[in-house]
């Protein structure tokens, strides 16, 4: 099972799409590792620099609603995966992106808007870090001398995929 968490990257907008996560022109790469330098390259947000140390040092993403909408490209979860980001926390996800995350053994965690707002209160803390315990469905955020923990829900199937390391291993042993 993967490690879930690390320095938090806050992306404060809804409907961040797959073209913003990984532009189509990089879909010609045929290994996941080759995607590494292009993380969030076309995402334009105030104060956000895709090439910064903050972006490339992140271990978890916190964002708003309908994250990952658009294309079915699994290159979107993969560009997070090869950069060590194994968990995305959002108000909601587009279906295909969400399934792709779990299929890769990664976690797409949905929280109520009020809880997402709580996480965003840590956005200004330079040392904001999130640790996620998938088995016990809890997450903890620390930063700026504060700490908060919260419970989340994921479906039993999605949890099984994370524990199995992804859908190929799960399906291959079962079907």
């Amino acid at each position: 099972m993967k490690k879930f968490g690390g320095p938090a990257l806050f992306l404060d907008r809804s409907d961040i799409n797959t073209d913003e996560i990984i532009p189509a022109k990089y879909l010609t790469e045929i290994t996941k590792e080759d995607l590494k330098p292009y993380l969030l390259e076309d995402l334009k947000l105030p104060g956000f620099d895709p090439k910064s140390e903050k972006t490339y040092g992140a271990g978890a993403v916190v964002t708003r609603a309908n994250f990952g909408c658009g294309s079915s490209r699994e290159h979107a979860p993969w560009v997070f995966e090869v950069n060590g980001i194994h968990v995305v926390i959002a108000e909601s996800f587009a279906r295909i992106f969400r399934q792709n995350m779990f299929n890769c053994g990664m976690a797409a965690i949905e929280l109520a808007p009020a809880q997402i707002d709580r996480l965003f209160t840590f956005a200004d803390a330079a040392d904001a870090t999130i640790e996620v315990d998938v088995a016990n469905t809890t997450l903890t955020i620390k930063g700026g001398g504060r700490e908060e923990s919260m419970q989340f829900e994921i479906s039993p199937f999605d949890k099984a995929l994370v524990l199995a390391g992804g859908w190929v291993d799960y399906a291959d042993s079962k079907y």
Partner: protein, 427 residues
Amino acid sequence: MGMTTAQKIFAAHLVDEPFAGTKVLGIDVVMCHEITTPIAIADLMARGKDRVFDKTKIKAVIDHVTPSKDSKTATQAKMLRDWARRHEIKDFFDIGANGVCHAIFPEKGFIRPGNTVIMGDSHTCTHGAFGAFAAGVGTTDLEVGILKGVCAFREPKTIRINLNGTLPKGVYAKDAILRVISELTVNGATDRVIEFGGPIVDAMTMESRMTLCNMAIEAGGTSGICAPDRVTVDYLWPFISDSFASKEAAVAEYAKWASDADAEYDKVIDLDLSNLTPLCTFGYKPDQVKSIEEMAGTPVDQVYVGSCTNGRIEDLRVAAQILKGKKIAPTVRGILSPATPQIYKEAVAEGLIQIFMDAGFCVTNPTCGACLGMSNGVLAEGEVCASTTNRNFMGRMGKGGMVHLLSPATAAASAIEGKLADPRKYL
């Protein structure tokens, strides 16, 4: 309680329910293209499982960048081609025979009412036009589909959209679906199937129904769905005539997949489109929609007619009707990409290609290229495209480029004027 089309298809294809709410379905058609399939192939090879569950149920096409534009895309095409040959996949479409996946696979009669369909492409929802459950998936789901012929879903609820009235002159399926998306918003149908019905849908061709279902994903929908009927049977007849005594018999058989009258919907939305105007997106989300009357006059650098949304023969006919005897504005680059070789040939035979070329359009081979900014019509920074495609995300057709989604008629009118234009004055 009756069942929806999606519920009936789920019940008929259920292989396993490993947990409450998760349904593993047997898949009838697994479609593959050269962008999302090669990594699945490579992973299967690395696992020592380079197999396919059923070579007759796998369909493959090179469509996103074709002919290949560089070494990387040539490698992707080669990986798909070699794999298709190795596994004797008969329904593989390469240069000379290839076209946009969601146009060519229906054209070959591969999708039937009641089918389950997956592909590593978000616009797979198009095939729901045949009364199928058709969902875009990622590469891992595709890989398992290739290996095992199954895919897991949360059973989606169904949103029923009734399109009532009649479409006015100059208003088409594209305008109707833009109206629906503006109603639902970009995530209003997440984990939902969008079922289209009502008198406007009943009167639509299969091509128009595919345009409707194609953009279900732009509202977050898992699949679009239209009930199979006589129109469906007429379209499929060349492929199914051996299986049925008559078209009536086929209609009666396929009717079992239609939603029951007492089916339970998540939501029912009635839209009377009798007064709808041609529509056009603004901004960078497909639910940002305005009347062309409000948008007219916005200068455009490029006009694109093509894609899995609007690259079919009826789309070319509509655009050609407006372009006939006219020239596009000198400030505009017009690009037409017929979605399949068959459409291209029909367009030649009907004189449509001549009309497009006389008007000043460049005609490319069938490919997805321009729609996602990969080839054959990429925008430069700051450029604007009036496009019959499905997605207007920032940079979708090229970094820093802006896309206005609209119908083929509105695209043609806009090409003539060099700015967004109302097509009704040309009809």
